[in-house]
């Protein structure tokens, strides 16, 4: 994986020093909260309902064991002994003291980590495919591209006060595991005439006006990528709306201009920007790519798995995915135990996952946008030992992509913008469907919950989505069906009037019963929904 050189380290160290100084000036009353707010936000520090929340960047979701252990250490020392893995492949701490923030950032910097640009109206942490370099279906590792963009976007002097936040995702496989087209810019690495380049989608997003990004350019060669993106951002920085925070994302600009007119403006700007010489030479990409060289895996490692232990076999069938190298596998660790808080992990669990990565997965871990953890490079022969240790730590729930593998935002338990709680609803649904055979009978079913219209829990992209709203002062939940954040990307549709907390769980049960009655052989829930439409489900829910 990527390793800092002296330049990268110096940048992060300078940022720690800068923020320590800003915190000092704030605590001394030299700057107001209004002036401090954008500064702390650019360092990932939010003021929440009960405390400060710190969002740590995990670039493209990749961590070493040493970095993972540092996350556990911080949780233990400065928080309440746990961390929360988020849909942006990041980690959040919910109970941070402002005075401690500089020390935490210094601890992070000591393991090549930071919280830079994890919030604020700037280019945020870049997300990617959690199976990068291991997935059988990728054409190349997307992360060198993402790292190139991380460096370009870090402390970008022109694009740090954009109209609104800006999120970029990079993938390199046909299967989209990163909700690529629901980002402000989604990049898919594709091949043309033997060269890799970027297909650039611009203007996707969730929030209150969800949109799927249109294709703006089908192939941008590596040599032009930064110039092209600089042009995309400059048009947005100049013409994106600043009069209304809800209309400030790039998706609104593109919606109002039309994709063709936006493309025309970008192409015009690109011709100019390309003349400035801002694109690094291929040698820089090659330097980065060399650091992402795949680990030396033994191609003669045994390919069979001893499935003698039935519980282990259930876990293998659910959590293990195909690796591109024979004899190896990708392990998906569920952070969704029945009744637990989706994405939360204790310090001890984080340490254990770090140990497993060090012993069995060439020192690497990944965070997924579905709030789970991945060990990307595991020998099949080691799966049983890994499972035993995960099981002992409460990390062996076999529910990947099943109805209880729920994405949920922090909601009203933590978030100052929330209308409703998300976590208790997730817990109730997981408990209602706790029977694993029943979950498996329902098959792939992605359920996503947001506690308000901002859509941090991706509810628009859920096969089943839940949106918390405020109805005359009480928490109310709307139900959406038919969304997807994968390569079959689509936005969910609201079923009708909302429900209270128990009502929404009942409604989901009626939806899944209807699906079982309607489906044809091998059809997933979302496929049935697309085939039969909303009417039968509406009928089942509301009678």
């Amino acid at each position: 994986m990527y390793q800092y050189d002296e330049y990268d380290q110096a940048m992060v160290d300078a940022r720690v020093a800068e923020f320590a100084d800003q915190v000092r000036r704030r605590l001394a009353g030299e700057i107001t909260e209004d002036q401090f707010k954008p500064l702390r936000l650019m360092n990932g520090l939010y003021l929440q309902l009960h405390a400060y929340m710190l969002r740590v960047a995990v670039p493209y979701g990749t961590l070493s064991s040493r970095q993972m252990r540092m996350l556990a250490h911080i949780a233990r020392k400065y928080d309440r002994d746990y961390g929360h893995f988020t849909t942006r492949q990041n980690l959040q701490y919910n109970w941070i003291k402002l005075e401690d923030a500089p020390a935490i950032l210094a601890d992070l910097a000591s393991v090549e980590m930071h919280a830079i640009q994890t919030s604020g109206n700037c280019i945020r942490n870049i997300s990617s495919d959690q199976w990068a370099s291991a997935a059988a279906d990728e054409i190349t590792d997307p992360r060198p591209w993402a790292e190139l963009l991380r460096q370009w976007s870090s402390f970008h002097p022109e694009f740090s006060y954009l109209p609104r936040k800006f999120k970029i995702a990079v993938i390199a496989a046909e299967e989209d595991r990163a909700a690529m087209r629901l980002h402000d810019i989604g990049i898919q690495i594709v091949e043309k005439d033997g060269q890799h380049g970027a297909a650039v989608y611009v203007g996707g997003g969730m929030g209150r006006t969800p949109m799927i990004a249109p294709l703006i350019k089908d192939f941008v060669p590596l040599e032009d990528l930064l110039s092209y993106l600089e042009a995309c951002l400059r048009v947005y920085n100049r013409y994106g709306r600043r009069d209304n925070i809800y209309k400030a994302r790039i998706k609104i600009l593109i919606h109002e201009l039309g994709a063709d007119e936006y493309r025309r403006q970008v192409e015009e700007e690109f011709v100019h920007v390309k003349s400035l010489g801002i694109d690094p030479p291929r040698a820089e990409f090659d330097r980065i790519a060399a650091l992402f060289a795949p680990p030396a895996l033994d191609v003669s490692a045994p390919d069979e798995i001893d499935r003698g232990d039935p519980d282990f076999a259930v876990w293998v069938d659910s959590q293990v995915a195909a690796h591109k190298v024979p004899g190896h596998a990708i392990v998906n660790i569920s952070l969704k135990p029945v009744g637990g808080i989706p994405g939360d992990a204790s310090s001890a669990q984080i340490d254990l996952m770090a140990d497993l990565a060090e012993t069995y997965s060439h020192d690497e871990l990944r965070v997924t946008h579905a709030q789970n953890i991945v060990l990307p490079h595991v020998r099949k022969a080691d799966l049983y030992a890994i499972w035993q240790q995960l099981d002992a730590a409460g990390l062996a729930t076999p529910n990947l992509d099943l109805i209880s593998d729920i994405i949920a935002c922090p909601g009203l338990d933590y978030c100052s913008l929330a209308n409703a709680r998300s976590i208790p609803v997730a817990q109730k649904i997981a408990t209602r469907f706790a029977d694993l055979d029943r979950q498996k009978e329902l098959g792939e079913l992605k359920l996503k919950i947001s506690g308000c219209i901002n859509a941090c829990g991706h509810h628009h992209a859920g096969h089943i989505g839940i949106l918390g709203v405020d109805r005359k002062g009480t928490e109310n939940y709307q139900l959406l069906l038919g969304g997807s954040g994968a390569e079959d990307v689509s936005l969910g549709t609201i079923t009708g009037p909302g429900f209270d907390e128990d009502g929404v769980v009942d409604a989901i049960e009626r939806v899944t019963d209807k699906y079982l009655a309607e489906r044809t052989e091998g059809e997933r829930f979302v496929d049935t929904f697309r085939r039969v439409g909303m009417a039968p489900f509406k009928e089942a829910i509301y009678g």
């Binding site: 330049y7 940048m11 800003q22 000036r25 002036q35 370009w152 740090s160 006060y161 920085n237 030479p281």
Partner: protein
Amino acid sequence: MVEHLHSDGEEPCVTLDAFLSQSNATAVRLEPDEDARALIPYLDRLKLIEVAFPKFRDGRGYSSARILREAGYAGELRAQGDVLVDQIAYMKRCGFDSFAPEKPLNPADVEAALTRWPDHYQTAADKAVPIWKLRHG
């Protein structure tokens, strides 16, 4: 370094509209929603372009500044308005060489902000050599 924190006794800036209709002014003020490229035909006779930052959160002026420098403007480029010490380093990278903040800045803080970053990842409108070039010569 900051050349002037503010200057006195100079020709007052005219608005962009006034400038475009009255040909002899040498100082012009650009509001965030005004197109910096409208000035490109006149850059060689402009001595001062003042870019307004009514709110520090409004980042359009950063693009205006780069566009002007990229077009070869060599005169004074001033950031005026809600200009805070924490934005000054980015402003300088985008080509500003003078600052007229509404609220006075502490010179020591300005000095610290402008010398904090050892290097920079990207090419911008200043003379800084980007890190990728330092790596590869």
